[in-house]
Each structure stands twice: as C-alpha cells, then as structure tokens.
Amino acid sequence: MKVKIKRWHAVATWQWDVNDERCGICYTAFEACCPDCHIPGDDCPPVWGRCNHAFHMHCIMKWLNSQQNANKQTCPACRQKWEFRA
C-alpha cells in the first residue's frame, strides 16, 4: 500500500522571531498589535534596538518621540541609548 498526500490543509500560527513574548511597552504580545492598531502582522511589526530589546514599532516610536532630548533617546527597558538594529 502506498499513501500519498494529495493535498494537505494544515494549520499554523505565525510568530515574530522575538525573544520576548510581549512588547515591554504596551505589554501585549508581539503577535497581537499595539494598542493603536487593529490589524496584526506587517502593519504593526516589532523592531529591535541594539540592546536586543524588541518593541512594537509604534510603541517605541511613541516612546522615543516623547523623550525630551532627541539625542538621549534610551531603551525603555535597559536605559541604554536606543538605536535601531539594522
């Protein structure tokens, strides 16, 4: 007997390849979206800093914009200077 798969309708969940489960700012999962968004996925991606901390892009942008001194933008988690990881 031979078995062949003609078609397989499989189910999977997608995840961001992030170390943390949740965004440290809004504290929702990365796979969910930040509070300002409705649609998860590419519209609301996570971003990484050099310190390897990841946040929703929208969240960290909000945070950075709220920082008084544009030159001293820090990671909200570790207080190191925030730079986007390429």
């Binding site: 007997m1 031979k2 309708h9 999977a12 961001w16 796979e31």
Partner: protein, 1004 residues
C-alpha cells in the same frame, strides 16, 4: 291595613263632621263589597269564581258588585286611591303568604332529591349528566307564579281602572315587582343553579329544534349539495353539530323538554323576570361557549377555529338569545310571542351573516368578547404546543392574535406561557419568536415571555450556537439569515426605523415603514417584501436582549467562524466576508467582531502566502541550492515525499488537478536525487492556514509527532515561509487541518510481493538515515519505470481517496513503512496516548484498510477478518489493556472488495467522533477562568485576606475595561474562589479569603 286606620289617617283632612261620617260609611261599604266579592270571595256570599276577570266584562261585573254611590263619595273626598291601595295591599299580602310558599313548594321534590343523593358530588354528577332535570320543577313553578300573578293583577287592574285609571299601570308593575322580590329574596342558594340548568336546557332544546328543522331542510335540498350556498350551509351545520355528537342519544330528550321549556319561558317572560336572571343567562352563554370551544378548538391548530365558533354563535346561540330576550319587550302586555322553539328564519337562512335585524347589538358585542376570551383561555394553555409545532399552527396563532386584539389578555397569556415554558422543554429556534410574533405583532408578548426564555436559553449551552448558525446559514436558508440579509441596514441597537435604509433592496418593492401586519403577512407566504420585513431585525434584537449582550453572539460567531475556516480547504472567504459585513452592520463595528475580521484577513493572507510559497518552492527547485538545515533527517524524509510524488505521477489524472504539482514532479524526475527530494518535500501539497492566534479563539492543544514524511512537508513550507516572511516564523498546529490522501493498493499478487520486499528493505534500512532514503528514491530511472508499471496496473489496483485528520494520515503512513504495528508502538511513534491511537485507528479498521487483532490470534487472523466484524470486536478489545493490540495492514483489500472500496471513495469522510472541534468554548472559558484565577491569587497576595465582595469589586476594576468581563458576576467569583479553596491554594476564614500560607504562593 284595616279600613279604620285608613279613615283615621284621613280624618284630619276633613273638618266637616257630617261629611266625615258619610265618607266613613261609604268606605265601609266599598271595602266590604271588595272583600266579599273580589278579595275573599269564599268568605262572603259567593260570586261566580269563574267570572271572566279581564277586560270590559270584568269591569262591568265589578261595577255591579261595588256600590257606586259610595265609591263616588270616596272619590269626591279624594280618597278613591284608598280603595285601590287597599286592594293592592291585599294582593301583596297574598303574594307573600300564599303565592311565595306555593311557588317554593314546587321545588320540594328537588330538596328531597338532594337529600336522597348520598352526597353533593353525586348530586352534582347527576346535574352534570342531565342538566334538564330541573326543567319540570321550574316550568311548574313558573307557570304557577305566572298564573297567580296574572289573577291578582287582573283584580287589581279592575279596581284601579274603575277608580284610578291613571294608576293602573304603576300598580300592576308594583305587584309584579313585589312578587319578584318575594321570590328572589327567599330564594335558596341553589336557585341560581336551577336557573343555569334551566337555560342550558332551553338552549339545548332550541338547538334540537334547530337541528330538526335543518335536517328537514337538508332532506329537501339534497339535490343542490354542491352549490356554494350549500357549502356554506354545510360548514355552518358542521359548526353547529360539532361538539354535540356525544349527546346524540339525548336528542330525543331535548325534544320532550322543548315543550316544557317553551311554556316555562312564556311564563318567565310574562313575569318579567328575565332581567333578574340576566347574569345567569350570561354565565350560561359563557359556559356553553366555553364548552363549545373546548370541544371544537382544543388541539386543533391547523385551521382557523375562531371562524367556526363564530358560525356556531351566529347559527345557534344568537338566535336562541334572540328568541329568549328579543320578545320580552313585546311581551309587556302579557302576550306570547314567538317562543324560542320557533327559530327565526334568518338564523337558518343566512346563517353565517349575523342576522342584520338582530336587536341585540350589545349582546352580540358582549358575546364576541366572551367568546374571544374563552378562546384565548383555551389557547393560552395550548400556547406552548402552538409554539412548538409552529409552522403548522399558523392558523391557530392567527386566530389567537385576532382574539387577543379584542380581549387584550396578553398579560395572562404571557404569564401562562411563562409557566408552561418553565414546566416544559423549550423547542429552541427562531420559530418561537416567529410564532409569538404572529400572535402579537407588536412584540410586547415576546418581551413578556423573554424572562423564562431568557433563563431557559441561558441554561442551554447550545442555543447561542443555534441562533448564530441560523443567522449565518445561507445554505439552508435560515430564517434569521434571511432577516440578516434583509435588514442589513438596521443597526441592532437603534430601532428607529428612520435609521434603516433600503440598501440591499433584495426584497424588490419600495420600502414601507413596517406595518403591524408584517409578521402575519410574511407568514402568509408571499415572502420577503421589504416592507414586511420591518419586524425582522427585531427578532434578533429580542434574542440579543435575551442574552443581554451582543458580545455573546459575536463571540459564538467567532468560535464558529474559526471552526469553519480551519476546516475550509479552499481558503475561500467571500461568503464569510459577506456575512461578517452583515453582522457588523447588526452588531456594530469593533467589539467582538473585530477579531473575526482579522481571522478572515488571516485566511486571505494565507492564500497569498500559499501562492508565494508555491512559487518560491518552484524557483528553488529550478535553481539548485545547497540545502540548509539538518541535512540528514531532511533527506530521508524528503525521500519519502519524493516517492510519494512519484506515486502521484502514476495516477496522472490526479496530478492534473494541480498543475504545479505536475511541474514539480517532472522537474524532480529529471533532476538529481537530492534536489528531487528537496523539491518534493517543499511541494505545495501543503496549504497552510496561518493564523494570528491572538485573535482566534483558543485552539485545542494536542501534542503529537507527525510521520516524518508529513513533518517534512511542513518543514519545507515553514522554511519557505521563514524566508519569505522574515522575521516571522510558523508554529504548526499539527493536529489541526485536513489531509486529502489517497491510499493505493496493489492490484497484482506479484507486484504486491515485490512491494513487500521493497518495504522490507526499507524497513531494514530505516536507521540508516541519508543513505537509506537515497537508496530507495534516489534512482530516478528506477522510480520512473516503476511508475509506468503502476500506470499499467491501475486498472487492477484500488485507490481509496479520503480526507482525514493529520493524525489519521500520520497513522496510516506508518503502515506504509511497516505492515504490522502494535498499539504501543504506534502510540510511541506518534507521541500520543494509546487510547487515542486506538480511537483513531478504529477509523482505518472501519475503512477496511487495517485489521486489528490480538497477538495470540495474529497468526490466524485471516484477511477476511476486516471491516465491520473487527470494529464490532473493537470495543471489547478496548475494554482490556490494549497494549497487546496489533494492527495489520490488509494488502488484499483490493481483491476482496475493490467494489467496496470504490463505493467508499464516494463517501470519503471522517467518522463523526473524529471530528473534534478545533476550537471550543470550553477551552475559551477555561482560559478566561485561568486569567481570573491569576488575578485573584495576585490580589490576595498583594492585599492579604479579602471578602468575596471586595474581590469581586477589585476584579471588576482590574479586568472590567477590556473585554466582556464586565459580565463577571459575584457567584462566578465565588465559584473561582471555591475552586481555589478546593485546590488548597486559598483558604477562607470568617468570610475572608486568603492565600494558604505557603511561601510558594506569596510569590504570586
């Protein structure tokens, strides 16, 4: 009153002594004459008792006996009335002393009869059985009273007319009133029962006569049976007859009584007592109506009954009443009119049109009301049945509605329905709503019964699902779905009709504000006019209000949607999108429907990704690359797939269904082994539904290991995804989804042997990793030649095409590697429970692909031991420790039952019990519960001991804002706490909950 008293009372008015004397003498003369001749004739010298007391001859006689000169004198003195009043007084006394006792004497036998009856119930029984028993007594008594009154009235009239003609009428009236007063004041309690019986009898007797006449008429009319008039008459006759069938043998009795009744009624009319017993008549009418309705309408829901009752009323009851009461006015002079025994012609001739000359509009009106009230009362008790059998009971429901419009008994109806709902099981469904709406288009009724419905529906876990499926099911044309489509523009919370727009216009015609008739008209079947639909959205609104929250429906819809989408093979979302849009219009944007949108987006996205992956895989296959990842494992697995692809090639028609599959296959066939393997592994047999799990209901988690070949398929896809969608990756829910597989059995013995060898060799090499894989599938030429052979043999081979769960697929694939597996082995490779394996394997056993045997009988197990017999055996096997169970592939499946296989192919599908819900509300609840528990534990850790109420309040503050958790009720919090107490995580002291003092919990 003695004459002396009269005189003394008169004397002060006359100061003339002489005149006084004369008047006195005159009075004595007159009074003696009256006494002697008129009042107490037996005392004095006799006069002819038989003298005609009425009319002018009586007057002449009176003039002859009363000394006229004395009378004149009296009249001159203004005392003429004295004589008249004296007579009246005497009559009055006679009525009280003579007539009244004699009247009641007529009923003495009734009394003895009652005493003879052993007890009251027997008595009542007697009465019930023959309500006409009293007619004789009643008739005699009434006739006597009538006679007595007539005599006395005549005497009085004579005197009055002689002396005071102006007063005659008043005096006569007075006399009549006095008699009635005497009789009714001294009436025993049963008197009214007798009246009731009397009138019932009268009605029956009337009905009997009516019937007799009608029969005669019918006999004369036999020829024209088919005419329209005849039909109408027939229906009325039916109506008249209905309910009296059981009295058939008693008909003759009624005939006998008819005479008595007529006599009694005449007397009654002359006595002017009818107004006094009107209430009795009313109650008789009511009772008869009730009886009739009960007999004819109860349990009859499929045709309009009200009309039938009306016909009966017009044909029987009203004419009777007319006969009874109508003549009373004419009877004033003591004339006999047409008795009730001679039904008026209109009652028969135009029976279903109420007699236009009916003198009792008020009776008619009153009776309509009574009738409808009775009707409602009867129906009320049956409301539940009406609701239950709804589509068949439209007629009854409409009747009820018409009646309710008159009687406004909605309140009672609602109460009654509530009661029966509480007592009986509810038939779930929109029909309930629909039926109630027919009864009462304003929905007030719905709102009334919403209470018990609410509690009931809430108590049933499946109702929301029912409603939602009805709402979204377009295939079966769910009623609610129709509504959803029609009223898409009506947002659920705003019931102002101005908010509605005719957007879809499906109903065609111009929009009209919803009329009250809408519900009924629509039931009437002319369908889905937009105007009629005005009420439609309200059912939904009602349902929602029953549950108090739209979110519940939205959440349920989400669950159902999830299930549907996960099982969907096509990834088509058009239909769901449409429904979702409709739902969004109803339930509003956002809220619980927001995730649904994402779910649908996920599917769209998945479709795109599938396309990209397929393309990517093809490109990869064309442009060879160094393989990534753990080569060894992959290649072995890939080998398997490659072979699978080869097999697919054999059944050329299958490949045709999917173009790129064929492409890949051809590529693979030409390319070097490694590449073929890789391409095969990543071939797009896989369609993935990639979901954003945060927006989906919790999926059922199940750990299992797929067959390596299957795993490889997924890995290939996953890699492609990781590349295409970097930095995202996939996590497979291996147990979900659906696999379309084809089992191919070898047709020829020889080939089978050959294949067995092949399998055996492979089995031996299984540990060998890369080499074994490449050995088996590496030789492209070999496999292609084999393929050709396969095509040649296709005619003899058998295929079994099935859609199964990945677990099933995985299991059967293991049999491709090896013919025999024990249950334990399978459980081990699959990484799942042996029980579960046994359950899943039952499917393959049932399909006749695999046989299960105990090891002891394994050798003797013939191949015939397959299919049903084995599956019948299975439960008993499962009862024992199943470790020893062996599953064996049936190679000869094809020869035994190629036809059977062919048949099965048509009915591919999974066993019902294998269709486990991918998503479940239980899981969702559990998830929420866990959330609460974590909150509670955290709270107790932070604040120390708290009361339930405090915990509840805090929980609401913490969790309230986000989700439908505002619905969290105090009892639920108690439940959570109790659970924690049971788990010994929390303890309760004096109503205060606190964490069990173990350091482990303080950390939380």
């Amino acid at each position: 009153m003695a004459p002396a008293a009269f005189l003394s009372s008169c004397s002060p008015m006359h100061d003339d002594e002489g005149g006084m004397e004369a008047v006195k003498d005159a009075w004595v003369e007159v009074y003696e004459a009256l006494d002697r001749h008129l009042l107490f004739p037996s005392k004095g010298k006799c006069h002819n008792d038989n003298v005609q007391l009425e009319g002018s001859s009586g007057r002449a006689w009176l003039q002859s006996v009363v000394p006229l000169h004395a009378l004149r004198l009296l009249q001159k003195a203004g005392l003429g009335s004295l004589a008249v009043e004296y007579v009246a007084d005497c009559m009055d006394h006679e009525l009280a002393r003579v007539v009244k006792p004699v009247f009641w004497e007529h009923f003495d036998d009734v009394g003895t009869g009652r005493e003879e009856a052993e007890n009251m119930t027997e008595m009542q029984e007697h009465r019930r059985v023959s309500p006409h028993w009293v007619i004789g007594y009643m008739g005699a008594a009434l006739s006597y009273a009538d006679q007595a009154l007539r005599e006395r009235r005549a005497k009085l009239a004579m005197v009055a007319e002689l002396i005071l003609p102006a007063e005659a009428g008043r005096l006569e009236h007075m006399l009549r009133t006095r008699l009635a007063a005497f009789i009714f004041n001294t009436a025993p309690d049963e008197f009214y029962d007798w009246w009731v019986a009397f009138f019932e009898t009268s009605l029956r007797a009337w009905h009997w006569q009516w019937r007799r006449q009608r029969r005669q008429r019918r006999e004369g009319r036999d020829g024209e049976e088919g005419s329209e008039e005849g039909d109408i008459l027939m229906s009325v006759e039916e109506a008249g007859d209905a309910g009296y069938e059981e009295d058939e043998e008693a008909w003759e009795d009624w005939g006998v009584h008819a005479e008595e009744v007529e006599t009694a009624l005449k007397a009654l009319r002359r006595l002017h007592w009818l107004p006094l017993v009107q209430s009795t008549i009313t109650s008789v009418v009511k009772r008869e109506t009730e009886k009739y309705i009960e007999r004819t309408c109860a349990g009859v829901y499929d045709k309009p009954c009200l009309r039938r009752v009306e016909a009966w009323r017009d044909a029987v009851l009203m004419p009777w009443l007319a006969g009874l009461l109508g003549k009373e006015e004419e009877v004033g002079g003591g004339q006999t009119g047409r008795g009730p025994g001679t039904p008026s012609a209109p009652g028969l001739g135009t029976p279903n049109a109420p007699p236009p000359t009916s003198p009792f509009p008020e009776w008619r009106l009153r009776h309509s009301f009574v009738m409808q009230e009775c009707f409602v009362r009867v129906r009320m008790l049956e409301m539940f049945d009406i609701v239950r059998d709804y589509p068949d009971t439209v007629a009854a429901a409409r009747d009820l509605r018409a009646a309710l419009e008159v009687t406004q008994q909605h309140q009672q109806l609602a109460a009654c329905l509530c009661e029966s709902m509480r007592q009986r099981l509810l038939h779930v469904g929109a029909n309930t709503m629909q039926a109630l709406r027919v009864v009462d288009p304003t929905d007030a009724l719905l709102e009334c019964v919403a209470g018990p419905l609410r509690s009931y529906l809430q108590g049933r876990p499946d109702t929301v699902r029912c409603i939602v499926s009805s709402l979204t099911d377009d295939e079966q044309g769910g009623v609610l779905y129709e509504e959803l489509r029609r009223h898409d523009a009506a947002p659920l919370c705003l019931d102002e009709e101005e908010e509605e727009e005719e957007e879809e216009g499906e109903g065609g015609g111009g929009w009209m504000p919803a009329g009250r008739e809408g519900g009924a008209a629509r039931i009437g079947g002319d369908g889905r006019g937009a105007g009629e639909g005005g009420n439609g959205g309200e059912v939904l609104r009602m349902l929602v209000s029953i549950y108090g929250s739209k979110d519940l429906f939205a959440a349920e819809y989400r669950l159902m949607l999830a299930e549907k989408l996960l099982n969907s093979l096509t990834l088509d979302t058009d239909r769901e999108l449409t429904i979702l849009e409709l739902l969004k219009l109803k339930f509003g944007e956002g809220g619980a429907l927001q995730p649904c949108e994402i779910m649908l987006r996920d599917l769209e996205e998945s479709k795109r990704v599938n396309g990209h992956v397929a393309q990517w895989v093809r490109e990869q296959a064309r442009a060879p690359r160094t393989s990534r990842g753990s080569v060894g494992m992959e290649e072995e697995a890939g080998g398997g797939i490659g072979e699978g692809e080869g097999r697919m090639g054999e059944g050329g028609h299958v490949v045709g269904s999917r173009g790129e599959g064929g492409d890949t296959d051809r590529d693979g066939a030409r390319a070097d082994p490694a590449r073929e393997a890789e391409a095969g592994a990543k071939d797009t047999v896989v369609d993935a539904t990639i979901i954003s799990h945060h927006f989906w209901p919790p999926l059922q988690e199940e750990e299992m290991t797929l067959h390596p070949r299957m795993g490889a398929c997924l890995d290939g896809y996953g890699r492609a995804y990781a590349v295409l969608k970097n930095p995202r990756k996939l996590e497979w829910k291996a147990h979900l989804g659906l696999v379309h597989i084809e089992l191919e059995f070898e047709g020829a013995e020889g080939e089978e042997e050959e294949d067995r060898k092949g399998f055996g060799g492979r089995e031996g090499l299984q540990g060998g990793g890369v080499s074994s894989g490449s050995v088996k599938t590496g030789s492209a030429i070999g496999s292609s030649s084999e393929r050709e052979k396969g095509v040649g043999e296709t005619g003899r081979g058998a295929r079994l095409s099935l859609k199964v769960s990945p677990v099933h697929a995985s299991l059967i694939m293991h049999f491709e590697d090896r013919d025999e597996w024990t249950l334990q082995e399978l459980a081990h490779v699959m990484g799942i429970d042996a029980d579960l394996v046994a359950r899943k394997m039952a499917f393959w056993v049932n399909q006749g692909v695999v046989a299960s045997t105990l090891p002891s009988s394994a050798t003797s197990s013939s191949q015939a031991q397959a299919g049903a017999s084995v599956s019948a055996l299975l439960p008993s096997l499962l009862g024992r420790p199943t470790g020893g169970l062996v599953y064996r592939l049936l190679h000869r499946r094809d020869q035994e039952g190629g036809g059977a296989l062919g048949r099965r192919e048509g009915t591919m599908g999974m066993e019902e019990d294998d269709l486990e819900a991918a998503v479940s509300s239980d899981a969702q609840e559990a998830q929420e519960m866990d959330l609460y528990i974590s909150y509670v534990v955290g709270m107790l850790g932070t604040y120390g001991g708290r009361s339930v109420r405090a915990i509840h309040d805090t929980l609401r503050i913490w969790v309230g804002g986000e989700r439908p958790m505002t619905a969290l009720k105090l009892p639920e919090v108690e439940k959570i706490l109790n659970r924690l107490v049971e788990e010994r995580k929390v303890e309760m002291v004096d109503g205060v909950y606190q964490l069990v003092s173990r350091p482990a919990h303080h950390r939380q």
